[in-house]
Amino acid sequence: MEKIFQKLSLASASLVFVILVGIFITLFNSSKVAIDEFGFDFITNTDWNKDITIENKYDGIINEEDTEEDDDSMLFDEDDEDLNTKTVFGGLVPIVGTLLTTLIALVFALPIAMGIAVFLAEIAPKNISHVVGIAIELLAAIPSIIFGMWGLYYFAPIVADLVGGYQVSLLTAGLVLGVMILPFMAAITRDSMNTTPSVLKESAYALGATKFEVIKDIIFPYSKTGIIGSIILALGRALGETMAVAFLIGSIFVLPTAINTPTISIPVAMANNFGEASGLGESALFYLALLLFLMSFSIISIAKLYFLKKVH
């Protein structure tokens, strides 16, 4: 019995390893077709699902046609026998969209999250800190699809009024993403700050330091690695967020020309196209998934292994 119990729990623990390795292998296998076809050019190519026509007669002349356009709008001669078309997928647009929305979210959330963490850890009296702490954690518990709907119908119109441009854009998607990671970032930053020994703080106060000086010179240096770790962790979460961004980014495969124009991110590209895709297109989506997984895997590993070793 003892042996069986131990073996079962060992098997469950190993399952984590099996699933993670399984995800890697599966994503790699499923994107193999796209990797063989496009290689690393995939990362730098902006075309998604485009038929590139190569007319062999005049080599060097390439016509590009959007597949979604109707046949009668096509310009090239259809009886041309030397016509060669191939569909091209490139991931640059969603990759850029993912990175930029995450960056905007981070720039927006970071100062507010730090302020909240300081408020919770150092300024507010215990009972207020407790209540506000619960409220912030409830904000973190709200499902992401709710952030998306609220963002699209209530937040984005205001932002678009203030800044101009489209309601669905990099900016509005990034800001709503920022609101989403805000409570998460604040909560773990507060936890890191709380690990500062009170002896250190008290001796600084005894020397006449103000609260600001104690936070800046004692608490911050002491909990620095924990704070950086929590920022990176929030970043990893923002990279993979799907639903909140899906409502707001506009979902078009076009590089953003300005901060207030629509584009697409990797999770949103997957959410919107997976159902209809097949063959090369599906494989290209798996290629995007693999890239996203690699990005978040490495970011989270850095945060966990390097910065958050001791802090929990």
Binding site: M1, E2, Q6, S9, L10, S12, A13, S14, L15, V16, F17, I19, L20, G22, T26, L27, N29, I112, A113, M114, G115, I116, F119, I123, I134, A135, I136, L138, L139, A141, I142, P143, S144, I145, I146, M149, W150, V179, L182, P183, A186, F212, E213, L233, G236, T242, M243, A246, F247, P267, A271, F274, G275, F286, A289, F293, S296, S301, K304, H312
Partner: protein
């Protein structure tokens, strides 16, 4: 001067807290006004095909419940192994991998399940959706179990062993009992998290307009249907999406508060 900087700094910090709380209030008030405005008791009696939400709410509970019944035993067993049996580099590897898995993008987990379950079985199904949610839940349960068991004092284990109990008896009868409240709270929070998930279900369970208990077919999901409804042009669909969002959020927040209340009264 120092005092002025101090004042400004403190004011900014309080302001941040106010901004954070206003976002929460803004979202909740929006949900209340829009959600309650379209809320009707008939929503619980009709299925989506007749303009209600009954099949979706039941479906979402079944998906999350099935995921929990897969994820909780596996997660707890793995957590027990890490804390009670394991030592050395394998254990810390599993612990780190579990932490990484906890933050893995949910849409990627959806894609994984699509490749290993949906494609081989020939289509989307309730099982596939539940598996995707279970994969999201396992690392959270591992983390909770691991943390809570580590708080149980050594002496309790030693006392059990000294009485001649075998190790697994000590774990099941003494250690788990001592950590019960903490583990239950963690599990409730994990459940609240997966019941609100959309991305892993999009192409695993999809959703359905009809009532269904058949887990081998596309399965009704509240969250996936909210996404579909919110993107439809008709006002009535969007109103329904708001009502559904309201119900979902109340559900998630209540489970969360129950979890917190549990720890407060007993822990």
């Amino acid at each position: 001067m120092r005092l002025i900087i101090n004042k400004i700094f403190l004011a900014l910090s309080v302001l941040s807290a106010i901004i954070g709380l206003s976002f929460l209030a803004w979202i909740l008030i929006t949900l209340f006004i829009k959600g309650l405005g379209s809320f009707h008791f008939n929503l619980f009696l009709n299925d989506l095909i007749d303009g209600g939400l009954r099949n979706l709410i039941i479906g979402q509970f079944i998906l999350a419940g099935l995921a929990a019944s897969i994820g909780i035993p596996l997660g707890m067993a793995a957590g027990i192994y890490i804390q009670e049996y394991g030592r050395g580099s394998f254990t810390s590897l599993i612990r780190n991998l579990s932490d990484i898995m906890m933050s893995a993008p949910s849409i990627v987990i959806g894609a994984f399940v699509y490749a290993v379950v949906v494609i081989p079985t020939g289509g989307t199904s309730g099982f596939a959706g539940a598996i995707a949610l279970a994969i999201m839940m396992i690392p959270v349960v591992i983390n909770t179990t691991d943390n809570m068991l580590s708080l149980v004092p050594r002496e309790l284990r030693e006392a059990g062993i000294a009485l001649g109990a075998s190790k697994y008896r000590v774990i099941l009868d003494i250690v788990i009992k001592a950590a019960k409240v903490g583990i239950m709270t963690g599990i409730l929070l994990a459940f609240a998290r997966i019941i609100g998930e959309t991305a892993p279900l999009l192409f695993t369970s999809e959703t359905s307009n009809y009532f269904s208990l058949d887990l081998t077919e596309s399965f009704p999901s509240l969250t996936v249907s909210i996404y579909d409804l919110a993107n439809e042009p008709e006002e009535s669909s969007r109103d329904l999406a708001w009502a559904a969002s309201f119900i979902l959020t109340v559900l998630v927040l209540v489970i969360n508060l129950v979890g917190r209340f549990l720890t407060r009264t007993k822990g």
